[in-house]
Amino acid sequence: MAGASNLPSKLMTPRTIIEKVWDNHIVHQQPGAPTLLYIDLHLVHEVTSPQAFSGLRERNLKVRRPDRTLATADHSIPTSDRSLPILDKIAENQLRQLEQNCLDFGIQCFGVHSSQQGIVHVIGPEYGATQPGMTVVCGDSHTATHGAFGALAFGIGTSEVEQVLATQCLLQRPSKTFQVQVDGPLSQGVTAKDIILNLIARIGIGGGTGCVFEYSGSAIRALTMEQRMTVCNMSIEGGARAGMIAPDDTTFEYLAGREFTPKGEAWERALSRWKQLPTDEGARFDHQITMDAAAIEPMITYGTNPGMGVPITGSLPDPAKISDPRERESIEKALRYMGLEGGKPILGHPVNVVFIGSCTNSRISDLRGAASILKGRKVNPTTRVLVVPGSQEVKRQAEAEGLPEVFRAAGCEWREPGCSMCIAMNGDMLQPGEYSVSTSNRNFEGRQGKGGRTFLASPLTAAASAVTGVVTDVRRMM
């Protein structure tokens, strides 16, 4: 430990990456008050920001750091031809207000007609705005996505959006730490989406409440950045506000040369800082779980929360066999809403719509995966299939690779970027009673349209189910 003797004792205590990023952002600590935490990057979108900008105007406040704020239009934006007028006037007004607010307060905005528009959690990483060791917030619970880079990234409400706009700070209490260790190789046809759906099925949707996850282990190390984002994205579905993965060479290679990343000497300095972030040997977590990647099958949800998931070859739970009355009632209610019978297999269940998109699975590798199954095949004639790239950049890349032709030839719709049918605010939605296999993150009642019924799965499972028109095990098509 030569040379370390002058360090404060706190630095000598082994720390998790979660604690390191937290410690690096403490602005002020007053007894009785939460920590005043500095926010490095604030991502803004049209839905959770208008009331925050109104608040700034009422108090006559400016945006403290427009240079640390980046906006885009994603939630209520149509995914149809952008040269056409927006038919939903309420949505149009919200989108226009975002652009006006950004103009008034000096914030860079990738608006409706920007060539850089996209889902906020796709563009942040894509342009290198998200970096290791940062604190990242956005008025959206899937901000956890950015944790894939070793950032402490979490969703906030509109009052907090206003606070960050005005002060670049938030009042926070530290979370508990929760290590999710995933070791071993993934089997063919099993993806990052299946890892996270498997975790949530095990711990339940409240299992990580009060915690930040750190995902570690050989299976996590082997993932690409896009796959890591899929895992971190759904941390909130396990109840954790954030989920982090320590940065490594995969992270640094992904970030090098992107628009907002440091360049030259600044890059070298950043690299040496980022390499200090991984959890120290001997650091203690409040909670831990280990998973065997080789034992994970493609997963699918059957119910009305993301924790209600089963291996695709499995059976639906039989309420009659559940002893806890509250749990039984909860499963019965979900199966009733979904129109499913307990104890039956889920394979072969008819599907009306397949949605490939969302901040969970709309990146280029997700589209490549779906296209690899759809190439040379036709989708079931009674199944509507929407493919919605996560951003204009993803769309351009897909076009350069000829993916839209593959999707169109198979009978899919190739649409403009946005959140689309994940949240069904923009006109892309299920009709009452319809079933979807969706690559998004939530299967709550009505999430994809009032009365709609969602099966969450990976892009591979979604593409396979599009071809057959029923819930399908992609491994039979590979």
Binding site: V27, H28, G32, A33, P34, L36, Y38, V47, T48, P50, Q51, S54, G55, L61, H75, D88, I90, A91, N93, Q94, G139, S141, T143, F154, G155, I156, G157, T158, S159, E162, Q163, A166, T167, Q168, C169, L171, R173, I205, G206, T209, I236, G239, R241, R273, N305, R326, E329, S330, K333, I423, A424, M425, P432, R442, F444, E445, G446, R447, K450, G451
Partner: protein
């Protein structure tokens, strides 16, 4: 915000676990740029039938759902999205406290900023509350952090001391953060030297 004062009320009971923010207010109502008028869409898809008429089965459309300021809900209330529209809709409808065995983290933060008190109770107390007659009156006192049952039984509940002070005074956090300007400026000066 108005100071949070003690109050007494009967409770609206919603025993379901994991009531998520999409149920509290569906996303299609988030295209508004205002905070107002959201009470009409509170629990919209449970509250209204396909033709837009009130669902007579749903608690908020029944006599025992009227004028009550406490929502007694199942486990893990408010999971899902970060939409502050959820506590806005609840408070505009008239709720001042929600009782559950647990709340999602973001929902808790959003509620405390809007004078909606999330009261966490143990499973035993939760069961006891649901076993009370429907017209039982509960008393909520934030200052003493006490929930009082009709038989005089008092249950202490946890609340973040800083949020508590803000709610009791009826002030929001932003004013406090703005006063930390020197510390923020000092931190930023340090950042610039990285």
């Amino acid at each position: 915000m108005k100071p949070f004062v003690p109050f007494e009320s009967k409770a609206v009971r919603m025993l379901m676990n994991n009531i998520d923010t999409d149920q509290i207010i569906p996303a299609r109502f988030l295209k508004t740029t205002s905070k107002e008028g959201l009470d009409k869409q509170l629990f919209n898809d449970w509250r209204y039938l396909a033709d837009g008429s009130p669902n007579p089965e749903f608690i908020l459309n029944r006599p025992e759902g009227q004028g009550r300021q406490i929502l007694l809900a199942g486990d893990n209330f408010g999971c899902g999205s970060s939409r502050e529209h959820a506590p806005w809709a609840l408070t505009q409808f008239g709720f001042r406290a929600v009782i559950s065995t647990g709340f999602a983290d973001i929902f808790t933060g959003n509620s405390l900023k809007n004078s909606l008190l999330p009261i966490v109770v143990s499973q035993d107390i939760h069961t006891k509350l649901f076993a009370l007659p429907d017209d039982a009156v509960l008393k909520v006192d934030l200052q003493s952090q006490m929930l009082t049952l009709p038989d005089g039984w008092k249950v202490e509940f946890p609340v973040d001391p800083f949020s508590k002070a803000c709610m009791l005074d009826g002030v929001d956090e932003l004013g406090w953060i703005l006063k930390q300007e020197p510390a923020i400026a000092a931190y930023e000066a340090q950042l610039a030297n990285l």
